[in-house]
Each structure stands twice: as structure tokens, then as C-alpha cells.
């Protein structure tokens, strides 16, 4: 079992969600984040003072999957983002999961993930 943590662009969330569903991945958790990477910062001017928003808004997507789904999840995420140009499309990190428990039933392991 792996935990896929993807930092993505907010506007790409909806197509990524659709792509995941196409690969039969229905469950995930998202949260807000701010990211600093190589991307061009957004130029804000507040009362005449230019300040670059170095920390850009990102969405953090967590998907716990069984090992055989890792590639499909990664593909789904990349398929959408790769079409666009520019920088700032983010990263995917794959972490090992030692155990997974479904809280409601107490099921564990591969059964609990889906």
C-alpha cells in the first residue's frame, strides 16, 4: 500500500478528479497548501508596493492505493497537468504505508484502502 501525495495546481483539481475516476480511483483527501517552487510568482501590487507572492496556492491531494494502482494514479495526475505549459505544476511523492484501517469497520490492509 502506498500513500500518493501530490501537490497540484488548484485549477487542475477538477480534471484530475475526473481522470482518477476513469482509472477507478474514487477515494482521496484534499487540503489547501501554499507552495514555493520554480514557478513564476504572481505579481501583486498593494498600495503601490510590488510584492511577489512567492508562496502560491496549491492543492495537496492524498490518495492511498494498493501497490498495483500506483502507476495508474500517477498517470492520471500527470495526464492532465502535462498538457499545460509553464512551471508550477507540482510534484508527486509516493510514500510507503505500513498499515491501513477503515475506521468504521476495523477492516485492515488492502481491503481497507478501497
Amino acid at each position: 500500500m502506498k500513500l500518493i501525495v501530490a501537490i497540484i495546481q488548484p485549477q487542475e483539481l477538477t480534471p484530475i478528479k475526473e481522470a482518477l475516476v476513469h482509472k477507478n480511483i474514487f477515494r482521496f483527501t484534499i487540503s489547501n497548501a501554499l507552495g514555493q517552487g520554480a514557478e513564476i510568482p504572481i505579481h501583486e501590487v498593494y498600495r503601490g508596493i510590488a510584492h511577489d507572492m512567492k508562496l502560491l496556492k496549491k492543492v495537496r491531494l492524498e490518495i492511498a492505493v494498493n501497490d498495483e494502482f500506483v502507476d495508474q494514479a500517477v498517470d492520471a495526475i500527470c495526464s492532465v497537468a502535462r498538457t499545460a505549459d509553464g512551471t508550477g505544476h507540482g510534484k508527486i511523492f509516493v510514500l510507503p504505508i505500513e498499515q491501513c484501517i477503515r475506521i468504521r469497520t476495523g477492516e485492515t490492509g488492502v481491503d481497507a484502502i478501497g
Binding site: 488548484p10 485549477q11 477538477t14 484534499i30 489547501n32 505579481h43 501583486e44 498593494y46 496556492k57 492543492v59
Partner: protein, 446 residues
């Protein structure tokens, strides 16, 4: 027929009046000034009401842009109406529009004209600001400034001169119809429908917001980001409307109490009707529909507020509240025109309804006021209704037609709509390089 007191009665002027020898007429005239200025002040605050309502019913990422548009259309409108619009509307008419009083030039020494200008300025700005709601979340700021100027400088005042010109030096053809004068006491048509039909043209030419309609024709909801702010906007609008309707007497006398009561009853009935209609139709009492319903009741009573009975006012409001819900749903789901705040339904449709309601519910003789403009339901025949249809129809053709033309020209010249990526990121950053709620965590996806 009760009309706003024509200007000839009002030009008695005194400058420092509280002196021996001041006449009763002079004091009454001073009272008229005080009342009209207070009313104008209340109507001014409606600008804030519109800003909050529109900002609240759209997304956080566009809030500063919407507020800025409301601020700017008042600023642009104040100058444009002073320089151009007031003359077109109330100057001596060439039969089609006024041709004097531009920048108040040639105004007599009489101070009443300033009071009247102020009251009319806030009306003109209201017509302009209605449009911003329907075009929210996707319109280029610079184009917005341009068409704001066009509305307050030309489109609104020319129509206004037809219906209200004789309130000062003008003389409008709608005031001299063979079936009797077109009646629009405080502007259901002159202000609200004109604004509403322009809004309709704008929403059509712009097209819907990204994500509003699916490829398969599904309709998606794009919830507003701040309901308390939107509701505050509606309370402020209701507050200002007492000045809007009762101030249109421009005379401080006993009739303003009656007008205020009618205004309030119709608004209350509108809010109730919309709430229950939405409750039945959608299963829950939708707050934003209740807000729109109150506004619908207010728009509808604007024309007939001085000439109907309390029971008439209740009926007008009830129907307006129901109409708003039906109209919002129809425009959104069937016509697939994306009007984020329901401006077309509230101002266009309910303005039309209120204008026609004069022809149905007018009851001047029953109220023992003025001569007798009596609507169909009180046995007055079809004449008034026909005049109302002519006036309202003219407004639609003028405002919607000119709106389509204007917005299409803008679209093909400097552009009417922001880029797709700017729309996704939000107009606050795109147009103004800032955020409305710095520091707050907002889910910008979805």
C-alpha cells in the same frame, strides 16, 4: 392623476429663510429640499447595497473587482450625468432628448436645481450598477468603465427624457400618449427595467462563466461566498428604497407616509412569496431567493407606490416574489443565460411587472388622491394598461437593443471578457493585482 409635483411649484427660492418675513411657501420649499436631499442620501447608500449583494453572491476571488466596479460606476456616473445625462434628460427637449443644462450651464440662480440634480444622479447610477451584477466574475474592468459612462451619460437619460422630462424643462412623448400619460412614479421601468434589459444584453454577449454549464448541458451551481454580506446588501437596499420611492415626490408632505407603507408591504410580500415558492419548488427555503424576492417586491412597487391601496401593494409584491423565482430558474436553466445575481429577473422582469401593475391596480379615486387614474381591476378600463405597455415595450426595445449593440462593439474592439486563465485565477488578481481576503484560506478549486 398624481404626479410628482411639477417644478413650477417649486421654484420659489430663499437663501437664508428663517428671518422675519419668510413665507410659509418658502418654509415648505425648504422642507422639500431637506426631504429630497435626505432621500437622495438614502438612495446613494443603495450603491453600497448593490456592491455587497453582488459581491456576496459571487466568489471570493472576484469580490474586490465587483466592489471596485460599483464604486467606479458611481464615480463615472456622477460626472457623466452632471456633464451630459442631466441635460439630455431634463433640458429643453428637441422632441427626442434634452438639449440644455449640460454641466448645469444656463441654470437659473434657483438652488432647487442642485437638489434635483443630486436626486437624479443617484437614480442614474442605480441604473448603471444593476448591470454589473449580471456581468460579474468575467468582465474586463476597462470595458465596464466605458459602458458605465454610456449608460449614465446617454442610454438612461434619453429614455428618461421621454418618461420624466417634464419634471424640469423637458417634455417627453411618453407623457403625452393618447391613452393617457405613461405612469412610472419612481422608476420601475425608467431605472430598473432599463438596467435589467441592459444586464440581459450584457450577460448574453459575454456568455456564461466557465464551469457554469457542462458540455452535456448540465447546469452547475456556483455558490456565493458571503451570504451575510449579501443579506446586509439587501437590508441596505430596502432602507434606501424608502428614499427611492417616497423621495420621488420631491415634496415633503403627507403622501410620503403612504408611499413608504406601500413600499414596505410589497417588499415584505415579495420576500415571503419567494421564500415559499422556493421552499415548495426546491425543498428548502433558499436564502438568496428570499433576498431576491424582497428586491423583486421593491422593484415592482416602484412604479405604482403612489397610486395603489395596501391590498394592491400586497398583491404586487406577492406576484413579484413568485415571479423572481420562476424567472431566475427559467433564465438560468432553460435559456442558459448566466446572470450570477439574478439582476435580469429582479430588475428587468419585476420592473416590467410593476409597470404593468399600474394599469391593473391604480386606485387614485379610492385613495382620494389627485385626479383619477384607475386601473383595470378597479374598473378603470384598459387605457392606463395600454399606456403602460407602450412605455415598458419602448424601454425593452431601447435598452436591450442598444445594449446588444454596445456590448457587441466592445467585444470586437477592446474586448469584453477577461482571459480564461484570469477568470480561473480570479479578477481580483487579474484586474487589480490583489486579493480580497488576504490571509484567509479559501478553497479556490471547485
Amino acid at each position: 392623476m398624481l404626479k410628482r409635483a411639477p417644478i413650477v411649484l417649486l421654484i420659489i427660492t430663499v437663501l437664508i429663510p428663517a428671518q422675519a418675513g419668510a413665507s410659509v411657501e418658502a418654509v415648505q420649499q425648504n422642507l422639500n429640499v431637506v426631504w429630497t436631499i435626505m432621500a437622495a442620501t438614502l438612495v446613494f447608500l443603495m450603491q453600497a447595497g448593490f456592491a455587497l449583494l453582488e459581491a456576496g453572491l459571487t466568489r471570493a476571488k472576484n469580490a474586490a473587482n465587483i466592489i471596485m466596479k460599483n464604486l467606479m460606476d458611481f464615480a463615472v456616473g456622477s460626472v457623466a450625468f452632471f456633464a451630459l445625462g442631466f441635460g439630455l434628460m431634463f433640458g429643453e427637449s428637441n422632441g427626442f432628448f434634452g438639449t440644455t443644462l449640460f454641466g448645469l450651464s444656463g441654470a437659473s440662480g434657483d438652488s432647487w436645481i442642485y437638489t434635483f440634480l443630486m436626486f437624479q444622479t443617484v437614480f442614474a447610477a442605480a441604473a448603471a450598477t444593476i448591470v454589473s451584477g449580471a456581468m460579474a466574475e468575467r468582465t474586463k474592468f476597462v470595458s465596464y468603465l466605458l459602458f458605465s459612462a454610456a449608460i449614465t451619460g446617454v442610454i438612461y437619460p434619453v429614455y428618461g427624457s421621454w418618461a420624466w422630462g417634464s419634471l424640469m424643462d423637458g417634455n417627453g412623448w411618453l407623457e403625452n400618449l393618447p391613452t393617457g400619460a405613461f405612469m412610472d412614479f419612481a422608476g420601475s421601468t425608467v431605472v430598473h427595467s432599463i438596467g435589467g434589459w441592459l444586464a440581459l444584453a450584457g450577460a448574453i454577449v459575454l456568455g456564461p462563466r466557465l464551469g457554469k454549464y457542462g458540455r452535456g448541458g448540465q447546469v452547475f451551481a456556483i455558490p456565493g461566498h458571503n451570504i451575510p454580506l449579501a443579506a446586509l446588501g439587501v437590508f441596505i437596499l430596502w432602507f434606501g428604497w424608502f428614499g427611492f420611492n417616497a423621495g420621488s415626490t420631491t415634496v415633503g408632505d403627507g403622501s410620503i407616509g403612504r408611499i413608504v407603507v406601500m413600499t414596505n408591504l410589497s417588499a415584505a410580500a415579495g420576500a415571503l412569496a419567494a421564500t415559499f415558492t422556493a421552499w415548495v419548488a426546491f425543498g428548502k427555503p433558499d436564502v438568496t431567493m428570499a433576498l431576491n424576492g424582497a428586491l423583486g417586491g421593491l422593484v415592482a412597487i416602484t412604479a405604482p407606490c403612489a397610486t395603489v391601496t395596501p391590498i394592491g401593494a400586497l398583491w404586487i409584491g406577492l406576484l413579484a416574489g413568485t415571479l423572481v423565482v420562476v424567472s431566475v430558474t427559467f433564465i438560468d436553466r432553460t435559456l442558459k443565460i448566466d446572470d450570477p445575481v439574478g439582476a435580469v429577473s429582479v430588475h428587468g422582469v419585476c420592473g416590467l411587472w410593476g409597470t404593468l401593475a399600474c394599469g391593473l391596480f391604480n386606485a387614485e379615486s379610492q385613495l382620494q388622491i389627485g385626479a383619477a387614474s384607475t386601473g383595470l381591476l378597479y374598473g378603470g378600463g384598459f387605457n392606463q394598461l395600454i399606456s403602460q405597455l407602450i412605455g415598458a415595450g419602448t424601454a425593452f426595445v431601447w435598452a436591450f437593443g442598444l445594449g446588444m449593440l454596445l456590448f457587441t462593439i466592445l467585444k470586437h474592439t477592446i474586448g469584453l471578457r477577461v482571459s480564461e486563465s484570469e477568470e480561473i485565477q480570479g479578477l481580483d488578481i487579474g484586474e487589480h493585482g490583489m486579493e480580497s481576503y488576504a490571509g484567509f484560506q479559501i478553497f479556490i478549486a471547485e
